[in-house]
């Protein structure tokens, strides 16, 4: 199968379902006469996207920046922390259960504390994106490092490789499939963390990010703008997921079954 044909075979099933859902949504709004402030139709959302494009695109850019910074931070810290937990059994027993808290406590509950610690603006939003998305990276790294082939570990032991070199040359490459699984989950969570962080910690006004746009649109009963902002946040999530997926494919395609 040629590359375009393969790409088309991936794209058309979800595109078809999205198309059918949009038609059903539009039809339901028309037929049932649902008011715009309760559920705007896809056409109304599209119109809002067009009319508010400048403000919404600026907001998307700001949210994208916070999401990327938060995701980058969680990727870096997650891999480092996962590696430490895999290497130091005492840290694993002591710290790993606590990292579950990051997964259990809702970000809406943490966000106000982050504002207290980091202040209003980008730092608290980045922190929210990081806190929400770090756990899958830690878990993926830890799982990957704990499932390194014991035979290969023995090989490195025979050659008296140091812990750091064993991690760098064996543990890390061997864990890449698990790390990328964690990063894919984290990509989706990072956008949620950024938007929720912006609900609480971002400045409003004309230069507001998506989360703040949603809050201000809610206050003005502009459901069409809320939906438009949600669409753009989803696009951000998909884009980051796609980039991580592509990166994973580039790193693993030659040797790991998951990327072939």
């Amino acid at each position: 199968m040629s590359a375009p044909a393969r790409a088309w075979s991936v794209v058309w099933p979800p595109a078809l379902i999205v198309g059918v859902c949009l038609v059903a949504w539009q039809g339901a709004v028309w037929i049932l006469g649902i008011p715009e402030y309760l559920l705007p139709s896809p056409i109304q959302v599209g119109t809002a996207l067009g009319f508010e494009s400048e403000r919404l695109l600026f907001a998307t850019g700001r949210t994208a920046g916070s999401m990327l910074a938060g995701f980058g931070l969680s990727a870096l810290l997650g891999i480092v922390l996962g590696s430490v937990l895999a290497t130091v059994p005492l840290a694993r027993r002591g710290i790993y259960p606590l990292t579950l808290l990051l997964q259990m406590v809702p970000v809406v509950a943490i966000a106000p504390m982050l504002v207290i610690w980091f202040g209003y603006g980008a730092p608290s939003v980045i922190a929210a994106a990081c806190v929400v998305s770090i756990f899958p990276v830690i878990a993926g790294t830890l799982d990957g490092l704990q499932s390194v082939d014991p035979g290969l570990r023995e090989l490195f032991g025979i050659h008296r490789a140091s812990r750091v070199r064993t991690w760098w040359l064996l543990g890390l490459p061997s864990s890449l499939p698990n790390i990328f699984t964690g990063l894919r989950v984290a990509a989706g969570l990072a956008v949620i963390g950024a938007v929720v962080g912006e609900f609480v910690g971002a400045y409003g006004g004309t230069r507001a990010p998506l989360g703040a746009v949603i809050i201000s649109a809610l206050k003005q009963n502009r459901a069409d703008v809320v939906f438009a902002a949600i669409v753009l946040a989803s696009v951000l999530g998909f884009a980051l997921f796609g980039v991580v997926n592509l990166l994973g494919w580039v790193c693993l395609r030659r040797w790991h079954a998951s990327a072939r």
Partner: protein
């Protein structure tokens, strides 16, 4: 990294695995420096454990392991190739030198030489997934030879391969290691392999491993024709008798 042939002496070696499985029980054995020795015994008799203790991968419960040189350079070739799947043949062969922090130019020359030795020059850039079983074992063999070890420990390296490939690789191993200043110890349960490769075949009984016989194998030429000679058949038959008596002894 160049090592000189290292002899090995085992004195009163004991090894018990939990729960109370005695694998080696007071084994004494001397492996002469520069010789190719085969440890032959039935599956599960403890021969791999002996090899792993010599290689430092297992600690004996009792007894001593002595080496004829002060700091022996040892290399291990396992039953499985144990290759890093994300590294090419070159990358895998060069790994021991990389871990020993050998500089790039010296490493590159040694890796090229080892890959040439095992006949994988054309496949040097391929990943393990793109190699046949025999090519993977050759890569593992090149990796164990690249440091020029004084003591080479081979743990049934070709056990999982088909017989034709196995015979071919036996011939290659014989050619490769006999041109070096190294002591080689191979563990196998194949009589034909042991007799073809080794200068001395040490036959072990079923668990716990005891020495049932030692056979000097003195063939001037070891090539494809050797396996069909009467001398080969005669010594194989004697080795078989010792092996069988070791198994009957225990049962």
């Amino acid at each position: 990294m160049i090592g000189s042939a290292t002899g090995v002496t085992l004195k009163n070696l004991h090894k018990v695995f939990e729960p109370d499985v005695t694998v080696v029980d007071g084994l004494d054995l001397t492996i002469e420096s520069g010789k190719f020795t085969a440890l032959l015994g039935p599956s599960g008799c403890g021969k791999t454990t002996i090899l792993r203790m010599i290689g430092g991968l297992e600690e004996p419960d009792l007894g001593e392991i002595g080496f004829s040189s002060e700091s022996p350079t040892t290399a291990f070739c396992f039953q499985e190739p144990r290759l890093l799947p994300w590294r090419s043949v070159r990358g895998n062969v060069g790994l021991p030198l990389e871990l020993a922090k050998v500089g790039k130019p010296a490493r590159s020359a040694a890796v090229d030489a080892a890959i040439d030795l095992v006949g994988l020059a054309d496949a040097a850039q391929r990943l393990p997934a793109a190699l046949s079983g025999g090519m993977r074992m050759r890569t593992a063999l090149a990796r164990s030879l690249v440091t020029d070890p004084g003591l080479l420990l081979l743990d049934e390296p070709f056990a999982s391969l088909d017989e034709v490939t196995r015979f071919r690789l036996d011939e290659e191993v014989s050619r490769l290691v006999r041109s070096r200043d190294a002591t080689v110890l191979i563990v196998t349960h194949s009589i034909a392999e042991a007799v073809f490769l080794a200068d001395e075949v040490v036959v072990l009984s079923d668990r716990p491993a005891r020495i049932m016989g030692r056979f000097n194998v003195d063939f001037a030429v070891r090539n494809v024709g050797l396996r069909v000679t009467p001398a080969f058949a005669e010594i194989s038959s004697r080795v078989y008798e010792a092996l069988r008596s070791g198994m009957e002894d225990v049962s």
